[in-house]
């Protein structure tokens, strides 16, 4: 502080003055000597000023900061030195630099690769998914027609929305801070687009007199939508194809807010150098979202049809395989059970199964077995050598073949014995007895259960004849006319008996027996009975028999009629003529189940 003495007139110097001056000097020294010493030191220091490292280190950080705020000259000065230093450092210690940037680059590279792979797989998935479908074929046609890549056509048709570009724009200047694009999108003049977006916002804001905080939120043209998120210092413009969901807007807004927090100083001090905003790229890339139309759950119609056909084919194949297996099993079972067939080997020959072995000619035809079980005839063949089977079934079959029994005869086998049961003609029985011994495997034939129908009929005729009676009036030897009818009946029976006797090889005799009532004497009655028998015989001899021999005999009084049975009328049954069949001198006895004659 400058001190100013109170007003003192200027006077000439005297001795008193000298003494006084010395006193003042002494007083000055006493009062100001410490300050004087300091001043002298400072002057000496200023004269020999050398700024040491310590002094520089104290002011350097603040000095750099202050200078950087003023202009870029410090940056320009340091840039070549820094570049050279960095180059030298990389050259001398590459490992050090590599280790330093590895954490940053590694993460960035991983993220980039992951993103590229994801996009590639998504594209590949879509391409594959739609390659074989009906819709895919339609799109292939469209791609061929329009000359666009198939993948592009698929993306266009399946895209629900896709953020294709994101602009981070400085709000005040409209300058572009950063810009990212989805894969396959090309763009140019991002800075100009950024400016135009800002200008359009300004235009709209001015036109409708909206405040600075208000802004255009959305633009839409065709399939493209531009969503503009407003921040205090920056705006985020997203170019979206398709229809984006509302939640995407929240995400974009959240991203912008996050960027504002992270880069608040840089946004505020932005002077056109967007280098610092390169780090926003990962955030912006996160905004490049996409969503594709989910494929309908389930298979497309064509695949349904193909699957159905495939399943039907599989079902048909399985059914055929099962059926074939069942038929094969049944065929084996039937062949094994079939009498007269012996399978020795089964071989595959020329694409079909061939059975080798022996077969009785009377055994069933194996081709018939194929038909019965439904096995394909072309899939099987038979090569059998003939042989004679002696199994009971085959012996019976052979017996039937040889004997040719009528339907009323049952043939059965017991060991080597043929048993015939039922009824048959006398001629067939005679033939059986001759030919049975010629059947292989047969040593005996049993006819015990076989009824000779001719014998049976002969006996029935015999019974019928012997039941006939021709009655006479008392004392009359001549047959009354009323009995003529019976004569005709007797003639008919005798003719049939004659025929049956021929079939049976018999030569029976027919005895015409006359009877009288006990009335009268013995001689008269015998004579009367003879006349009666002869009378009937005469009438019967009107026809000729081939083997029957008729004879008449007067038997006198009928012994079966008891005497004294009551008057002339009571003896009417004894005045008669009866018949008896006699063969080889003795009458034939009636038998039930007559045995055939050997």
């Amino acid at each position: 502080m400058e001190r100013t003495p109170r007003s003192s007139p200027i006077r000439p110097s005297t001795g008193y003055d000298r003494g006084e001056s010395e006193d003042f000097s002494a007083l000055r020294r006493l009062l100001l000597s410490p300050e004087q010493i300091q001043l002298n030191r400072l002057r000496q220091r200023m004269d020999t000023l050398v700024i040491g490292p310590q002094e520089v280190s104290r002011v350097l950080p603040d000095a750099i900061r202050l200078r950087a705020q003023q202009d870029n000259r410090l940056l320009a000065s340091l840039l070549p030195i820094t570049q050279e230093a960095l180059a030298l450092s990389i050259k001398q210690s590459p490992q050090l630099i590599s280790d330093s940037i590895a954490p940053i680059l590694g993460s960035a590279i991983r993220k980039a690769i992951s993103r590229a792979m994801r996009e590639m797989f998504q594209s590949l998935n879509q391409t594959l998914e739609y390659s074989m479908s009906w819709q895919g074929l339609q799109w292939r046609w469209e791609a061929w027609k329009t000359g666009r890549p198939f993948v592009e056509v698929v993306v266009l048709h399946t895209l629900r929305f896709r953020v294709e570009q994101v602009f981070l724009i400085h709000k005040k200047t409209g300058l572009l801070l950063n810009h990212v694009m989805a894969e396959g999108i090309s763009s140019q003049g991002e800075a100009a687009i950024s400016g135009m977006l800002t200008a359009i916002q300004d235009f709209v804001r001015d036109s409708f007199q909206q405040g600075q905080d208000e802004g255009l939120e959305s633009l839409r043209i065709g399939d493209l939508t531009v969503w503009i998120e407003q921040g205090s210092s920056a705006i985020l413009a997203s170019v979206i194809r398709g229809t984006p969901p509302v939640k995407l807007r929240d995400f974009l807004q959240s991203t912008l807010e996050s960027l504002h927090v992270q880069y608040s100083d840089s946004l505020k001090d932005f002077q056109g150098d967007a280098a610092v905003f390169l780090e926003t790229r990962p955030h912006l890339e996160d905004c490049l979202q996409a969503q594709f139309v989910k494929k309908r759950k389930g298979l497309p119609v064509v695949l349904w049809v193909c699957s159905g056909l495939l399943l039907a084919l599989l079902g048909w194949w399985a059914y055929q395989a099962t059926l074939s297996h069942q038929q094969w099993t049944e065929l084996l079972k039937r062949i094994a059970a079939e009498p007269g067939i012996v399978v020795t080997t089964i071989q595959e020959e020329g694409g079909r199964t061939v059975f080798h072995g022996l077969r009785d000619p009377l055994a069933v035809d194996p081709e018939q077995l194929l038909e019965e079980v439904g096995y394909p005839p072309h899939a099987a063949g038979f090569h059998f050598e003939p042989f004679i089977a002696l199994t009971p079934e085959m012996v019976r079959k052979r017996a039937i073949t040889v004997l040719q029994p009528p339907g009323s005869v049952e043939v059965s086998i017991e060991g080597s014995r043929i048993i015939l049961t039922g009824e048959s003609s006398h001629g067939w029985i005679a033939r059986v007895t001759r030919s049975a011994s010629a059947i292989p495997g047969v040593s005996e034939i049993s006819l015990e259960r076989l009824i000779d129908t001719d014998v049976k009929q002969f006996e029935a005729l015999q019974v019928e004849l012997e039941g006939q009676a021709i009655f006479f009036f008392p004392g009359q030897g001549r047959m009354p006319d009323r009995e003529l009818v019976k004569i005709q009946q007797v003639k008919f029976i005798l003719q049939e008996l004659d025929e049956k006797a021929i079939q049976l090889g018999r030569k029976p005799s027919i005895e015409v027996m006359g009877y009288s009532s006990p009335v009268g004497t013995q001689p008269i009655n015998v004579s009367l009975s003879e006349r009666r028998a002869n009378n009937v015989l005469e009438m019967l001899n009107e026809i000729t028999f081939q083997v029957l021999k008729l004879s008449a005999a007067g038997k006198g009084v009928d012994p079966d009629v008891p005497s004294g049975s009551g008057g002339e009328q009571g003896y009417s049954a004894s005045r008669r003529v009866s018949f008896k069949v006699v063969e080889s001198g003795f009458p034939l006895r009636r038998e039930v189940g007559a045995r055939s004659e050997p």
């Binding site: 409209g174 300058l175 056109g272 280098a275």
Partner: protein, 165 residues
């Protein structure tokens, strides 16, 4: 790369758009000028060893029908004031636009271009008429959008001034 927003200012038909076209082939149609009132292009160049991206806001010429929107000037680092040497009235318009720019974005660098130098014989604008503007401009240049004379140099000068400011 450093970006700078610059505005082309001037009266109606002074040749702003032609000057921009001399420099670059833009991607937007000129119809934006009459609709939105601005057409924006970008131009990369290197000034003093520094790569620079100029974002050119070509504002619609101020006339009775449409006024320059002040909001379009926001954030500009510099501007180019264009006068048609053959029309006196464009000097007055340039003065008004200069005032608008000063008021809106402050004292940022600008260059004053007297266009249509190829028609110099028809010029009616003389130096004293633009002395006020000339004193404040970092460059005053006579240019011709038709021949390209002085155009690139003018943009370079403005770029350099913006980098230094």
């Amino acid at each position: 790369m450093i970006q700078k927003k610059i505005c082309m200012l001037g009266g109606f038909a002074v040749g702003k758009t032609s000057l921009v076209k001399r420099l670059i082939s833009g991607m937007f149609s000129e119809k934006y000028l009459t609709t939105v009132g601005v057409k924006i292009d970008q131009k990369s160049l290197s000034v003093c060893g520094q790569d620079l991206l100029l974002v050119l806001w070509d504002l619609y010429g101020d006339d009775d029908f449409q006024k320059v929107r002040a909001s379009y000037l926001q954030g500009a680092s510099g501007y180019i004031l264009v006068i048609d040497g053959t029309r006196k009235e464009t000097v007055e318009v340039a003065g008004k636009l200069h005032e608008l720019a000063r008021k809106t974005i402050g004292p940022v660098p600008f260059v004053l271009l007297l266009n249509k130098h190829d028609l110099v014989n028809e010029w009616v604008v003389e130096s004293p008429m633009v002395s006020d503007l000339s004193d404040q401009a970092c460059l005053v240049s006579m240019v011709s959008a038709k021949t390209g004379e002085g155009v690139e140099a003018a943009f370079s000068a403005l770029s350099e001034a913006m980098l230094k400011s």
